[in-house]
Each structure stands twice: as C-alpha cells, then as structure tokens.
C-alpha cells in the first residue's frame, strides 16, 4: 500500500541521488538546468512562429 502511494507521488525522474552533469570543455551544466534552458529556447522559437489569435475589436 505504502509503495503504491509513494509510486503515485513519485517524481517522473528519480531525484534520490547525485545529479547528472554534462561537461563540454570548461563548461559544466546539470542536465536539469540544460532541460530548462532547452524548454525556454523552444518556447522562444514557438512565440516567434505561432500565429497570434485575433481578438475582438483589435485594430
């Protein structure tokens, strides 16, 4: 029962452990931060290309 409850409330990624890091020369970034940056870049590009809905009374 307890395992079912904890499974339902578990994070999609196992957070019980040291974080994962990506190294590129002198640059080191955690995978979690890299995912956030990737999502932000994706949102930025979508904001540029997606059509904006036409509101009522817009000139």
């Amino acid at each position: 029962m307890l395992s079912k409850v904890s499974a339902a409330g578990a994070a999609p990624v196992d957070l019980n452990g040291p974080g994962h890091y990506v190294h590129w020369g002198v640059i080191q970034v955690s995978v979690a931060n890299l995912v956030v940056v990737g999502i932000m870049v994706a949102v930025f590009i979508l904001a540029l290309v997606l059509p904006f809905p036409k509101g009522r009374g817009r000139k």
Binding site: V36, M40, V43, F44, L46, A47, L48, L50, F52, K54, G55, R58, K59
Partner: protein, 241 residues
C-alpha cells in the same frame, strides 16, 4: 451622411493663484511635478486601450507574463513573511505557499529571460528607449540578487552549500564584510525588504517608460508607415536632433 459638429474651445479654468494666467508656472514644486508628469504621461498614454498592430504576436506577451509572475512572487512572499518559517516548513498549506513562491520565481525568471531575448534581437533600445532598456536590465540583475538571497534563506543543506561557496567569491572581491552570505538575518532582510523594494521600484519605472515611449516595433517595420505611437516617438526623436 454624418454631420460634423465643431465644439467650441474649452473655457480656461480660473487659476488658483490670484493674478496668474493659464500659461504661467504656478503651484510651486508640486505644480511643476504635476505638469511634468501629465506632459510625460497623459492619461491616454498611461492607460491606453489600443496597441499597434505589431503587438499582436506571442513574443510581446512575455513582458506582461513576467509582471504577472512577479505579482504572484510578491503575494506568496508576503504570506510567507506573515506566517513565518514554522508554518512554511511544518504545515501542508505552508508547504504549498513555499512551493508557490519557488515556482512563481522559476516562471518569473524564465519569462523575463525570454522577454530579454525578444527585446535584444529587436534592438528594443531604438526610438529613444534607452532608459526602458536600462531599467529592464537593472531589474533583471536585481532579480538575480533577490533570487540568490532567497536560495540563501531556505534553511536547508542547499542554502548552506550555496552560502559557503558564495562567501569565497564575495570575499575575493572585498564585499564579504558588508554583504555576509553566511549571516542569515542579514540575507533575510536583503531578500524580503531591500531587494524587493528596489526591484519593485525599477519595474514600475520600466513600465512607465514603456508607456511613455510605446512598445518597440519590429525592425522590419522601420521602413513601413509608422503607427501613431511610433510616429509620435519618431517626431520627438527628430526634434531632439
């Protein structure tokens, strides 16, 4: 066929200072401030009900998203300040507000950075908007400092790690004695009083500058016929030359 009625010119109101006419500068410094404020931000500019056509793009939404997230940050932070750490660490509703504060900050920073990217690539300092750009950049830096002091006052191992790492960096530039990241009380005051006041004030200035100069048009529109707000700014720019 519509009939045009020409209204008579409005009758000038009598001046509150005896003998003074309308054109004279009256009312001391309060009058001067009032006249300057109304000249810089007339009501239709301060609270406009229309925006230029080019504003109908998702990239223009991120400024107001940042502002909305900022209001949630301030509101949730105010509740945390009123209820205290025993509440936010020890009760379910306290945990909720603690998380609300964290996630609204995450969204605030993300929206602000996307807003910054958009404004950088459209060179948003054009058309006498340098002060708008500068107040935005300063509020971004202030927000980084506010978020940093927020991480320092989490009262967990994370905050201990961050503060002991940061103290070496701050000591190396000589400000560790005045901005002591291992002093919990000092960091809490920076986080909940000084920095929010400064960031809030600069954000207000930033929004007033956006109202004064108008929303920056995309670069491609510079050669196209200008929108009324842009035309007015361009006229001011020409006059300043």
């Amino acid at each position: 066929m519509s009939e045009h009625v020409i209204a008579p010119p409005p009758t000038p109101e009598p001046s509150p200072v005896a003998g003074a006419t309308d054109g004279e500068l009256t009312g001391g410094w309060t009058g001067a401030v009032r006249r300057g404020a109304v000249r810089a931000l007339p009501p239709d500019k301060l609270l406009p009900d229309t925006q230029p056509k080019y504003v109908a793009s998702w990239i223009y939404v991120f400024g107001v998203l940042t502002l909305a997230a900022f209001l949630v940050v301030l509101g949730s932070g105010a509740v945390l300040a009123l209820k205290g750490p025993a509440w936010w660490h020890g009760s379910a509703v306290g945990h909720y507000f603690n998380s609300l504060h964290l996630w609204s900050v995450e969204l605030f920073m993300a929206f602000m950075v996307i807003h910054l990217w958009g404004k950088f690539f459209m060179a948003a300092w054009r058309g006498r908007r340098a002060l708008t750009w500068i107040t935005g950049a300063v509020s971004f830096l202030g927000s980084v400092g506010t978020a940093f002091t927020g991480y320092l006052v989490q009262q967990n191992f994370d905050s201990q790690w961050i503060s002991t790492q940061a103290k070496d960096g701050l000591n190396s530039v000589g400000i560790g004695a005045y901005f002591n990241v291992t002093d919990f009380g000092q960091m809490l005051m920076w986080h909940i009083v000084l920095l929010p006041a400064v960031v809030g004030l600069i954000v207000v200035l930033h929004i007033l500058m956006v109202r004064r100069r108008g929303v920056v048009p995309p670069i491609a529109l510079r050669s196209a016929p200008a929108e009324p707000a842009e035309r007015e700014t361009a006229t001011e720019e020409e006059a300043a030359r």
